[in-house]
Amino acid sequence: MLRTVVRRKPRLVDVYLLVGAVAIGVYFAAPADSVVQTVYYSVVGVYGIAGLVLGAQRNLARGARFPWYLFAVGLIGFVVGDTIFDAYLIGNGTLPFPSAADWIYLAAYPVLFAAIALLVARYGRRRIHIALIDAGIVTFGFVLAQWVFVLAPTAQATGSLLDRSILVAYPAMDILIVAPLAGLIYSRAARSTSFVLLALAILTMLVADEVYYGHGVNYRWLDGFWLASYALWGAAALHPSVAALGADAEAPRPRLGTSRLLLLGLAGAAAPIVLAVQTGRGANAHPYAVAGFGIAITVLVLGRMALLLRAYDAARREAESSRAVLLEQNEQLRELDRLKDEFVGLVSHDLRTPLTSITGYVELLESEETGPLTDEQRSFLSIVARNADRLLRLVNDLLFVARLQTGRLDLALDEVDLAEVAEHAVAGAGPRAGAKGLDLQFAASGDTAVFGESGRLGQLLDNLVSNAVKFTPHGGSVSVSVKAENGAVVLEVADSGIGIPESERARLFERFFRASTAVSRQIPGTGLGLHIAQAIVDAHGGRITVSSVVGEGTTFRVELPPATVGAEVHA
């Protein structure tokens, strides 16, 4: 067997991330605090910037690149800060505070803020109320924790006012980043891979920042986080899905997923958590801050609830109005149905009246009480009678089908011997079969009593037997058998006729459907007979199936519950 193996070409972004990961590994492999390692750190930063610029140019239209260039500018700030920082360390081993690096670092954060805010404005515009409120809840929770755990202790530490201001400014900048990031998380851009990479880049940076501020220690592994952040930032721009960020015109309704609920719940619980932690370790609980942020978060939650309720109301109104439309359409359909029934009834009545005169007077003539008939006259009259009969059958079928459509078939049930009904139908078809030179057989065996309506069962048998005769060419054979088999009464009507193509058998019992073999031979019919037959079998709790070979013949098989079982079913 031939098989083509489709190999996915590695995408640029995959290669980029892989190289980034290797680069971070190399950083940790280098001798700690060596000049090489220190310089290498900035090189990884440049790698991130390169990814951002390249990605924006490859994947984005000119107008959409600006926020990503801003990210690049922010990262350039960080790399320049890193370089100055390293220069001091390599140069004389001491670091002045505050240094030029601090100013450049601090200036980079607002640029990143602006970039994220631009993305939110661009991709989160729709459903922005709920996104903003959710972002607000998360931000307030973060700010409270930041204030109590980081900002307040730093502000109260010793040192000059300038020193303390700069120390406070770093965690404050993280707040600046968290706010639009939360907004972006709750915007509809949140579902693209590019976004996930971007959010990871920002989160990685924030986590490292927070650990650094919170403990005032530069753990070695924190470098890994910051470096990973650079690489993820570049990858976000390089991932092709960056172009699809917010590309869909229609925003879906905001979903309240588990992760969203967890994040909101955590933020909402910020006040009691902060209170418990601070009380637990005997530190200042900052009651005013806790109370203030607690109230702010509560107000936002209320606003969120109000928006949800409003959305719910709108949805309900919409559902109600569409329900009203449906009801009205339903009513119109019912009226149409009633008109159709009335029409069918009228047509049936008006066709029957002239048919009554035709068949009635033909019958009088055929009785020869008005005078003897010649053979030719008798044969002509029988043609009139046969065609009047055909017309009457058609009218009956149409009326019956119209009734089937409006409701189920109500049967006047009684114990009926199916063999007797079949024999009667076979006898009725005798003259037609004889005229075509058909070999018409009938056989019955076993207890063939069923519980049903004899008139309807007669109609069923007439339909099947007359079909068999109609579709079997001169000299063929038709055999009808009724027998008890496996707890059912089974009727089989088999012919050596033209057959029904396999592909049409599924549609055979549909209203007005006619097999192509019948149509192409111009055998007259309405396509109602088998539909009616199936309805009658269904109403009796039975099953009708067909097997056929084109050109060889067709067998219809009807299985009905025997009288004993049928009586229980219908009781």
Binding site: G345, S348, H349, D350, R352, T353, L355, T356, S357, I358, T359, G360, Y361, E363, L364, S367, E369, A388, L392, L399, R403, D410
Partner: protein
């Protein structure tokens, strides 16, 4: 067998058909073309049986049946003969008080059987 049978139908052709069949069976026939005439002729001729169309002008066959049932000949056998053949139509006819409901088109044989059934008692 002899006696008078009332037939009513707004179609002359069908009245003619009924007349031939019933005359051959040996009955006298009085024929009405609408419901009102049928009620009047019933009172006038006191027939032993009535064969009534359902859809007739002025009074329909159901109403004629009800009036016959309410009048002096309350127990006279009534056969409704109609081109309205739905089960609901038959039910309405029997509810109005008819003894039998014959669907059009009918054969002479069917008509004879019904009449003999109803007059046998």
């Amino acid at each position: 067998v002899s006696g008078t049978i009332l037939v009513a139908d707004d179609e002359d052709d069908i009245l003619g058909l009924l007349r031939v069949h019933l005359t051959r069976l040996g009955y006298e026939v009085v024929a009405a073309h609408d419901g009102e005439e049928a009620v009047r002729l019933a009172a006038e001729h006191r027939p032993m049986l009535a064969v009534l169309d359902v859809s007739m002008p002025k009074l329909d066959g159901l109403e004629v049946t009800r009036r016959l049932r309410a009048g002096d000949d309350g127990d006279m056998p009534v056969i409704l003969l109609s081109a309205l053949v739905q089960p609901a139509d038959v039910e309405r006819g029997l509810e109005a008080g008819a003894n039998a409901y014959l669907r059009k088109p009918f054969t002479g044989e069917e008509l004879r059987e019904r009449i003999e059934e109803l007059l046998a008692v």
